[in-house]
């Protein structure tokens, strides 16, 4: 086995996906489907060839670029992204002859490739290139929805993500200027501007509080299949970058705790179930960020493991909601209900996903989230452990119960439809299997993590605590719904922090812009007046265009030559 593997050349994983994207763009029908399914497998085959320590370097403008750097941290994300790409591609197979199928498949492959490029990048410049590619390749998944809303949301998504890239590049260049190194390794907050810029760039992509709005704004506007990809890559690349560069930064601990708590409130009152999942995503990333902030080997392992699990179970939940949207055209809690009759398999999958995200014993998050929680206690962060516990209960409520309840049960909405297409069911099935496999056989999975730390998830205390939490959580929700106190699903718009810059900010800009315009007009007319009278030019009568952009008579062109010659002679003599 290993000898036949050695015959394979070392190829950076992103290259295989980019080649796949090219094929997906050129081919049609069955051939394209074959490419979509085979590309992740081919990529996985070449992944076997990569070992910790494999690196490629190349010189570029005096910097040492490392387009390929393999270690245990990048490897596990590499495997994760291959798995996510496979699941996503299978989930999207039914697009077939759809008008926008080509662009979605190509974009998804490029997007997955960019994510792989970013995790195997060994220097900040390479990271920057893939960081920006992530934004540019994925925005088509949002635009492909084809609505005016998605077009606008896509633009906002693009602007924020490109801004994050610009911050990253500025930070990287400043850092190179200061330390002479562009290595993508541990950075930490050393008080330099460069480190803050880089942290901010990572923070935007991982959805830090107040920087998170692009995520909840755009993910629900993407196509049913697009959201599955979006949920897998961008934020997880950012988590990976944080784990590599800012592990053990105390600030992240607090940021993470805030991230786990605040989205819960929004998720409870939100009606669009895919937006609920987007908020829930920030909440889950909060656990990872907190783990990275704790910084112990167990905590970072936990953050990485939880990222892995989250891609799969959050993907699974987005897939079930995507299936509902695909079959019924609706995804608002107030419009749905009673779908378990017509979509029993999807409903089952959704419950598995919900159980995983709520950390039921024998499901994936039970293993991974508890690593972070245990690490928090081990490192003596008792007061932060409590909000994390609260957030866990919140997860159960908004993702574990709300999603399946409102979509598949609750009051019968009267919608009768068919079960989702087979490829969707297969993709959901694979994801569900992985969720359960991690929950039941954690040993094999834990061995893949970056640090060697012995951890036993199934202890009596842990199982009991978690079960109690879950049972009482379910009880509470049941009581609330029975008594009618639970916030009903109503079609409404919830104001988040982005109101400040999308409405208030825009109004301020308009007001300020108007002021500047008035001043500008006044200044310009004054200057024109001056030119008009002072130089005696017939500036008027040359049309409405500005003085610099219209056609000048030849005579005045020559005058400029004379003026410049005069100035030159004056300066030289």
């Amino acid at each position: 086995m290993s000898s036949s593997l050695a015959a394979l050349p070392v190829i950076p994983p992103f290259a295989i996906f980019f080649a796949g994207a090219l094929l997906a763009a050129l081919l049609r029908g069955r051939a394209r489907k074959a490419v979509l399914i085979l590309a992740p497998f081919v990529g996985a085959l070449f992944m076997l060839r990569l070992h910790s320590g494999t690196t490629w370097t190349m010189g570029f403008l005096g910097y040492e670029l490392v387009p390929l750097r393999v270690d245990r941290l990048s490897l596990i994300f590499g495997w994760l992204f291959h798995l996510a790409a496979l699941i996503g591609n299978v989930y999207a197979l039914h697009l077939g002859k759809d008008e926008r199928a080509g662009i979605q498949h190509t974009s998804a492959m490029l997007y997955a490739g960019s994510a792989l490029g970013a995790v195997f990048a060994g220097d900040l410049i390479t990271l920057f290139v893939f960081w920006e590619l992530l934004a540019f390749t994925s925005v088509f998944l949002i635009w492909a929805r084809g609505s005016e809303r998605s077009l606008r949301a896509g633009f906002r998504y693009l602007v924020v993500n490109v801004l994050s890239g610009v911050l990253l590049l500025s930070g990287a260049l400043l850092r190179a200027y200061r330390t002479g190194s562009i290595e993508f390794g541990h950075i930490g907050l050393d008080g330099s501007l460069a480190a803050w810029l880089i942290l901010l760039a990572f923070g935007i992509k991982s959805g830090f509080p107040l920087l998170h709005n692009w995520l909840t704004d755009s993910y629900p506007e993407a196509t049913p299949t697009g959201t599955v990809f979006l949920s897998a890559f961008t934020t997880k690349v950012a988590v990976y970058a944080l784990a590599r560069s800012f592990a053990g930064t105390e600030l992240l601990l607090y940021v993470g705790v805030v991230m786990t708590c605040f989205p819960i409130f929004y998720a409870v009152i939100e009606n669009d179930l895919r937006r609920v999942l987007s908020y829930s995503m920030i909440n889950q990333i909060g656990f990872m960020v907190a783990g990275i902030g704790i910084g112990s080997a167990l905590a970072v392992n936990g953050a990485v493991a939880h990222a892995f699990a989250d891609v799969i179970f959050k993907g699974l939940l987005f897939m079930t909601m995507g299936a509902v949207l695909h079959m019924t055209g609706r995804v608002n809690g107030s419009d749905l209900g009673g779908l378990y009759k017509s979509m029993p398999v999807t409903a089952t999958m959704c419950i598995i996903g919900a159980a995983s995200i709520s950390a039921f014993p024998l499901f994936s998050a039970f293993v991974t989230k508890s690593m972070i929680m245990s690490a928090a206690l081990e490192e003596g962060h008792k007061w932060l452990w409590l909000p994390l516990l609260f957030a866990s209960a919140g997860v159960l409520e908004h993702a574990g119960i709300k999603i399946p309840y409102f979509a598949f049960f609750a009051h019968d909405s009267g919608i009768r439809t068919k079960e989702a297409p087979k490829n969707m069911l297969v993709a959901m099935g694979v994801a569900a299997l992985v969720c359960i496999a991690i929950g039941i056989f954690p040993g094999t999975f834990l061995a893949l993590l970056p640090f060697d730390v012995a951890y036993v998830p199934y202890t009596v205390t842990h199982v009991l605590t978690q079960t109690q939490l879950l049972v009482f959580g379910i009880l509470a929700v049941a009581v609330l719904i029975r008594t009618g106190i639970y916030p009903a699903e109503t079609p409404s718009v919830n104001l988040d922090f982005d109101w400040t810059y999308r409405r208030l900010g825009a109004a301020v800009v308009r007001a300020v812009g108007g002021g500047i315009r008035t001043v500008d007009l006044a200044v310009r007319s004054a200057v024109l007046e001056l030119v008009d009278t002072g130089l005696g030019f017939a500036v008027r009568g040359h049309g409405p265009k500005g003085a610099l952009s219209r056609t000048w008579p030849t005579g005045s062109m020559v005058l400029w030559v004379a003026i410049l010659l005069g100035i030159s002679l004056f300066l030289y003599l």
């Binding site: 920057f128 265009k545 952009s549 030849t554 410049l564 002679l569 003599l573």
Partner: protein, 491 residues
């Protein structure tokens, strides 16, 4: 044969020009022109290879030794410029066949190609020669043929544009010849190397600064330095597509080369920058060009005119690099010379494709072209990204060098203005992209993708934008060595 390369670079195209007129058949004259361009490109590649591996070449016309005879002198700097001019010509000519047949009446096509080859010959001649009067002669050859080429545009305004260019170009050429004359009176020589030796002794004489002023202003006019650029926007906007693609990526570049040659080789960096302080004029004008011309570009309703304004701004970047007078700065200028030729060549050729199918290059005519002409607009987008300076394109390499050169001298505001220029470029490129991709197509849906003979050359340049953006070793290496040669350091 190989020792005659410098003269063959010029003589063969010069002889091909009348041949193209004599054959009188459009296709045949195109073939003559194409072969001449290929020949020139081959010779330029051989010359660059020779210069990089062996060293500068000095060729004596008719075996008359300089400084009495005319010397052709090729070093890293002009070998690079020769490569740009002939390379662009070799890419533009395959493109020209279909485009010219569509834009120009049949009986004038042979004359068109004659003028085109003459223009290329003139530009090559300016670059290759080591004799200042020869520079003037070739300048006139290239300029006169350029006026004729521009006047052949379909738009009636092409005539006035050509007329204005004629007047302004002649003023510039006159200034240059006055400068040359003054130097000749003082030193009695026209050979560049000889001049460089004799001039330092006469620096105190007032005639030399006057000669310097006439030369720099004349050249500034030819390279369209703000505010002497006024002839350029209309000339580029209304000329035939082929002519715009060729001239925009070569003519101003050769003028920038002339500036480099006179400022650094003939007068010397010490005189130009320490005594004359030419940077006091060049730096502010270059910065003004970058900011104001990018702003003007934003408001243009005609995309070719928009790109023309952007060209004036881009020339600002080149002159800015040169005015820094450091190895990095001059290298950035030379690098952008090459890179901008690739960028604008690709963009103007994409606009030629649009012209060919749609018949207009006004912004509103681009509506929906992202769907009806996907390859053309994709070429425009990549060219536009390169113009903005997105990583993995040549534009990024140029800006990186320029910003580094500015920071090296602690000129933070200059670096900021360079980036502001990039932001403005985002706006004017986006204007076109938005209309092309986010608006419904107008008309009866009869617009199709441009033919392959137009698309292939366009994409050659587009791919070159990416190729040299990813692997900048060759271009940046040559630019650094050329800058070292000009400044007389290192190498």
């Amino acid at each position: 044969m190989s020792q005659h390369l410098p003269v063959l670079q010029v003589v063969v195209p010069l002889l091909a020009a009348p041949l193209a007129a004599l054959v009188r058949r459009p296709r045949l004259s195109w073939l003559v022109a194409f072969l001449a361009a290929l020949w020139a490109f081959g010779v330029a590649v051989a010359l660059l290879h020779h210069v990089l591996s062996v060293g500068p070449i000095s060729y004596h016309i008719g075996d008359w030794a300089p400084p009495w005879g005319i010397e052709y002198r090729v070093d890293q700097v002009n070998a690079f410029v020769l490569l740009i001019v002939s390379g662009i010509a070799a890419v533009v000519l395959p493109y020209a066949r279909a485009s010219v047949e569509w834009e120009i009446e049949n009986e004038r096509i042979p004359l068109f190609y004659t003028a085109l080859i003459l223009c290329m010959t003139g530009l090559l001649g300016i670059s290759v020669t080591g004799d200042v009067f020869n520079v003037f002669v070739f300048l006139e050859i290239s300029s006169l043929s350029a006026y004729a080429l521009i006047a052949m545009g379909q738009d009636r305004r092409a005539l006035t544009a050509a007329y204005q260019y004629l007047i302004m170009g002649s003023v510039g050429a006159t200034f240059i010849v006055i400068g040359i004359g003054l130097m000749y009176v003082m030193t009695g020589t026209l050979n560049m190397a000889d001049l460089a030796q004799r001039l330092p002794a006469m620096e105190a004489n007032r005639t030399i600064p006057v000669a310097f002023a006439f030369l720099t202003v004349g050249i500034s006019l030819k390279l369209a330095l703000f505010p002497l650029h006024l002839w350029l926007p209309n000339a580029y906007a209304y000329a035939p597509s082929t002519v715009t693609s060729f001239i925009a990526s070569t003519a101003t570049k050769v003028a920038v080369y002339m500036l480099l040659r006179f400022v650094f080789t003939v007068f010397g960096a010490a005189f130009s920058f320490d005594v004359m302080n030419i940077d006091r004029i060049l730096t502010p004008l270059a910065l003004a060009a970058i900011v104001f011309m990018s702003l003007s570009a934003i408001y243009q309703p005609n995309v070719k005119r928009l790109l023309a304004y952007s060209s004036v701004a881009q020339i600002g970047y080149m002159v800015l690099g040169i005015s820094l007078a450091s190895v990095f700065g001059v290298a950035a200028g030379i690098l952008h010379l090459f890179n901008h030729a690739l960028i604008k060549g690709a963009l103007f050729m994409a606009m030629g494709c649009v012209m060919y199918r749609v018949g207009s290059v006004r912004i509103e005519a681009m509506a929906g072209l992202g769907r009806t002409m996907p390859f053309t607009m994709a070429a425009f987008v990549i060219g536009g990204l390169s113009l903005i300076g997105v990583p993995l394109t040549v534009g990024f390499i140029s800006k990186l060098y320029l910003v580094r050169a500015a920071l090296e001298q602690g000129m933070w505001p200059v670096a900021v203005l360079v980036l502001v220029g990039s932001l403005l470029a985002v706006i004017y490129v986006w204007k076109v992209v938005e209309v092309a991709y986010f608006r419904q197509p107008i008309g009866d849906g009869s617009i199709r993708e441009a033919p392959l003979s137009l698309l292939l050359p366009t994409w050659v340049l587009v791919l070159a934008n990416i190729w040299f953006g990813v692997d900048a070793k060759l271009t940046a290496g040559v630019a650094i060595r050329a800058a070292q040669t000009l400044l007389g350091v290192g190498s």
